[in-house]
């Protein structure tokens, strides 16, 4: 093909290079590049992004140096030690366990579960939405009924019931249980977008030229809605932090010996803790607020980048 082209076209190699270069310059930049430009133009967003990444790396590395079983040992001497005393930077809880260390390990666990949950539930939701939106008719109808049914379930209650049924559950099973219930939002969004996308000409052209359905879905439609996928994934990551911590707060998330930001906040259920020993739960609460806000802020910037009319950063 290329040989053929060289033989018959009278464009020189230099011209071809120049033309390719010009075409590349005029082409819309990739979504990754657009998002990057947007971050460069918005300094607070850049700060939020750096804080999140630095924090995640910090807790991942710092928790490697913490011996969790030893940390969770009860030490009556340090009962509710105040911040700064007995060598505890952030004090100790009712069991004399360091709040600071629990915060680091807890943040690692909570973020890890949120990441896992986001990956699993978003992948599933995206596939569900794409397939349901592309195949109209009976497949879509059936899939929509399943969706309706899932939406009807009282999610938190179902998760609690499942958690009590499964013996010896751990972070992985917990993430899987959460994933069963948290793909609906994504799937609905992707489906509505796929519906409008599959009416476009390029899909019709691919269909007539005999391209397989799944190739059209995953190689043609999916790249075209990639910006929506990125936005949705970032925003659901922020929400998912709330999911695990909320369940752990109620006492049906991570097991007691595995600290999570939610179990730390659950210290506040004890009237003594909430009134006198604020350091046992307040840092975790504030940390969740900061994390959720900065991740959603980053998500907001990504959303802005995906919408050409709202961009701050010039995409040139």
């Amino acid at each position: 093909m290329e040989e053929n082209l060289n033989k018959h076209s009278n464009i020189s190699a230099a011209d071809l290079d120049r033309l390719t270069k010009e075409a590349n310059e005029e082409a819309t930049p990739s979504s990754a590049k657009i998002i990057w430009n947007e971050f460069k133009a918005d300094k607070p967003a850049m700060a939020a992004l750096i804080i999140i990444i630095a924090f995640i790396i910090f807790v991942m590395i710092a928790s490697l140096f913490i011996d969790t079983p030893k940390m969770m040992e009860t030490n009556i001497l340090n009962y509710n030690a105040a911040p700064g005393s007995n060598g505890f930077l952030l004090g100790a809880d009712t069991g004399g366990r360091s709040v600071g260390q629990q915060l680091i390990v807890g943040a690692r666990n909570s973020i890890g579960i949120a990441i896992g949950l986001t990956i699993i539930s978003s992948t599933f939701g995206i596939c569900w939405g794409l397939i349901s939106g592309y195949f109209n008719g009976y497949i879509d109808w059936g899939m929509q009924r399943v969706y309706d049914f899932m939406m009807m379930l009282p999610m938190t209650m179902m998760i609690i019931v499942l958690v009590t049924i499964i013996k010896n559950y751990n972070a992985v099973t917990l993430t899987l249980i959460f994933s069963i219930f948290y793909w609906e939002g994504t799937s609905r969004l992707i489906r509505s977008r796929t519906l409008s996308e599959s009416e476009k000409d390029y899909v019709a052209a691919s269909k007539t030229s005999g391209t397989g359905s799944f190739k059209i879905i995953f190689h043609e439609i999916m790249p075209n809605i990639s910006s929506l996928i990125i936005v949705d994934t970032t925003l659901s990551f922020a929400e998912n932090i709330g999911v695990e911590t909320g369940l752990s707060y109620l006492g049906f998330g991570l097991p007691l010996q595995t600290p999570s930001l939610g179990t730390l906040i659950a210290n506040a259920n004890d009237p003594n803790n909430i009134t006198q020993y604020w350091w046992t739960w307040l840092p975790a609460a504030l940390l969740i607020i900061v994390l959720c806000l900065s991740i959603s802020y980053v998500g907001q910037v990504v959303r802005r980048a995906a919408d050409a009319s709202q961009r701050h950063g010039a995409a040139d």
Binding site: R145, D148, F149, M151, M152, L153, P154, M155, T156, M157, M158, I160, V161, L162, T164, I165, K167, A238, I241, G242, T245, G246, Y249, L250, G251, F252, I265, A268, N269, P271, I274, T275, W278, W281, L282, A285, I288, I289, C292, L293, S296, Q300
Partner: protein, 319 residues
């Protein structure tokens, strides 16, 4: 119109049946049986066996399910093993509390959200609009239970303005004082829920009003010389209100799901707290009844919203 509603209702029936089977099986799969707690060295195994048999716990699951459904239609959901009283009575006393709280929160949400949405739309693109956008966005992002814990800490414990547990003060006399006490107990959770639940209504009302502002009938009214205040009051707001009302259904379902957290934080004796307690006591009858009720309420809330929306927006109707 009626076709749409009928079709929605017909689809609901198999959904409820599947939900009831699912819930029943899940409750059966939970470890332990309701009598585990009463086992002690003095308990006679034969007697326990007898209790299990009387309560039909040895029957095959479909038999137990069928009995349950038959009883259900007779308005009998069985007895709570933990409280030793009929589930229907137990739940109905709690449901009143939960529904009051949900209703109060919904009304407050609208009280906060309607002016905000209208104001934001009126000053579209200006400073108030941005402030309201940031506000709704921040309140939306923060997990609600964290707000509840911090709220009960600041206003309940540190400042001592509001009660932190229960639904009514034990010293309240019947009559006006007890109503006042009840209201006082739902005030803080209601206000917090409303302040942090405005995002949907504000965003939707804002975009509705902005659309209406540019529509022909508003331009006509304006060119006729109708005062700006009246345009908003009679032309724009009235047209945007009905779709907003549709959100009430969704917002009640959201509040029900949130009631688990609200009621735990405030030790408020509603259905959510009852569920949490029943889980730790393996009180199957209560658990199944509650999950089923929440599921059906979810369905009804969505149905209500969909019906209102289909009245407002003819595009949604099925021909």
């Amino acid at each position: 119109m009626w076709k749409t509603i009928l079709r929605r209702v017909l689809i609901m029936i198999p959904e409820i049946i599947i939900l009831s089977i699912l819930v029943f099986l899940l409750a059966k799969a939970m470890p332990g049986d309701p009598f585990t707690g009463s086992i002690n060295p003095k308990a006679d195994p034969a007697q326990l066996h007898h209790l299990m048999k009387i309560n039909g716990l040895y029957d095959p699951w479909y038999q137990q399910y069928w009995n349950w459904v038959v009883h259900l239609f007779h308005g009998n959901l069985g007895n709570s093993y933990q409280y030793q009283e009929p589930v229907t009575r137990l739940i109905s006393s709690r449901a009143v509390n939960t529904l009051w709280l949900a209703l109060f929160t919904t009304i407050l949400t609208y009280c906060f959200a309607l002016p905000m949405g209208l104001y934001a739309a009126k000053h579209e693109g200006k400073l108030p609009d941005s402030i309201i956008r940031v506000y709704t966005y921040v309140t939306y992002c923060i997990p609600f239970f964290v707000i509840l814990v911090i709220g009960v800490w600041i206003f309940g414990y540190v400042l001592g303005w509001f009660p932190t547990t229960g639904s009514i003060s034990s010293t309240a006399n019947p009559g006006i004082q007890s109503i006042g006490s009840r209201f006082y107990h739902i005030l803080l959770p209601g206000v917090l829920g409303a302040l942090f639940g405005t995002v949907n209504v504000v965003q939707y009302l804002r975009s509705e009003v902005i659309d209406a502002k540019r529509s022909d009938y508003v331009r006509t009214a304006r060119s006729k010389g109708v005062p700006e205040k009246d345009i908003y009051k009679h032309h724009i707001f009235r047209n945007s209100l009905l779709p907003i009302a549709a959100f009430a259904g969704y917002s009640i379902t959201g509040l029900l799901n949130g009631s688990l957290f609200t009621e735990t934080v405030f030790s408020y004796p509603g259905m959510g707290l009852l569920f949490i307690n029943s889980i730790s006591y393996r009180d199957y009858t209560v658990i199944t009844a509650l999950v089923l009720i929440y599921g059906i309420l979810n369905l009804l809330g969505t149905l209500l919203s969909d019906i209102i929306l289909s009245i407002v927006d003819p595009r949604i109707r099925i021909e």
